[in-house]
Amino acid sequence: MIRLNGKDCELQAGASVAAVLAGLQLPADARGVAVAVDGEVVPRAQWETFLLAEEARVEVLTAMQGG
């Protein structure tokens, strides 16, 4: 099981970060988006190749209004 933004996600271990983004209807080059896995940044250039391990915690973040 993979956790995506704090919730269980249908994707299985071995899926790429790009696959996670596709599941969120986000293009592979989505601007204003950043991804962390298990508390570390996954650089944009690695979205296609970075494969998620079992129990991975994925955070997909974007700009929100804030001071």
Binding site: Q25, T62, Q65, G66
Partner: protein, 277 residues
């Protein structure tokens, strides 16, 4: 706009430069608290700001409208913040994520030490600032009004310091103007008054104390008429800047007549003879 510069110089004569980036507006806008993206866009236009803060949060696929698009259309520079971070580690990782998301090395560094007051955690802030400067970030730390801490932050390489006037969103203005003036005296980098602005006069005071810019968020976004307040605070920042350059008169306990007594008429009743008796 009122682009009076100083001493009738060219329009950019009084521009603010942070880390080599020139800004004509000395008002930074926080984007938090606006009821809609349309209202935010209107406030940005009314404020004249060229730089706005944004936060990083989990994406909501069902969200209506895109903040990124709104800000891109407005043509403003993004200053990502690390709001909500309580440790240096979280703040550093959030800054790295913001760099990925927004392709900017700039960060408004916030490390919060207390939930009720949202006051900065000084040791964690300093640690995070040093780490991020080492990674090539342009760090603008949200800090207390402590002149010593401000100097320490500059010593580790921060591009500006952003002392609070009072707690975030409190609208309490500048509780310790003396410290803000001391910070201005003690560091070479720009000083941006951050947090506590409640209304236009607070922003004017910040500039009169020597601050180089003001960041306003709640004061505008939560005003009854945010767009009108954006214009008011814009004017106040410009007025305060002009007043600072003009040099205020010293405060005195007693009155000092602004009209001379030289040539004052003798209006006492009676003739000279009357007075002689």
């Amino acid at each position: 706009m009122m682009d009076h510069g100083l001493a009738n110089g060219p329009p950019d004569a009084d521009a603010l430069t942070i880390a080599g980036r020139t800004l004509r507006s000395r008002l930074l806008l926080g984007t938090g608290g606006f009821a809609s993206l349309e209202l935010l866009a209107a406030a940005i236009a009314a404020s004249g700001t060229e730089m706005v803060t944004v936060a990083l949060r989990r994406i909501d696929p069902g969200a209506r409208g895109s903040l990124t698009d709104t800000l891109s259309d407005a043509g403003v520079m993004l200053l990502p913040n690390t709001a909500g971070c309580h440790t240096a580690r979280d703040a550093v990782i959030t800054a790295r994520l913001a760099r990925e998301a927004f392709a900017t090395d700039w960060v408004k560094l916030e490390v919060i030490g207390d939930e009720d007051t949202l006051l900065p955690d000084a040791p964690e802030l300093l640690r995070a600032a040093e780490e991020l400067v080492g990674e090539g970030f342009v760090v603008l730390p949200y800090t207390t009004d402590d002149p010593v801490l401000a100097r320490r932050l500059v010593d580790v390489g921060c591009a500006a310091v952003m002392p609070l006037g009072s707690p975030i969103g409190s609208g309490m203005g500048i509780r310790n103007p003396y410290n803000i003036a001391l910070i201005r005296e003690s560091v070479e980098v720009p000083v941006v008054l951050d947090a506590g602005i409640g209304t236009a006069s607070d922003a004017a005071l910040a500039m009169e104390l020597g601050c180089d810019a003001v960041l306003a968020a709640s004061a505008i976004s939560r005003a009854q008429d945010p767009v009108r307040m954006a214009g008011a605070i814009r004017a106040a920042v410009e007025a305060g800047r002009l007043a600072r350059a003009a040099g205020r008169i010293p405060r005195r306990l007693y009155a000092t007549a602004s009209t001379t007594n030289e040539g004052l008429a003798d209006l006492a009743a009676g003739t000279l003879a009357d007075r002689a008796t």
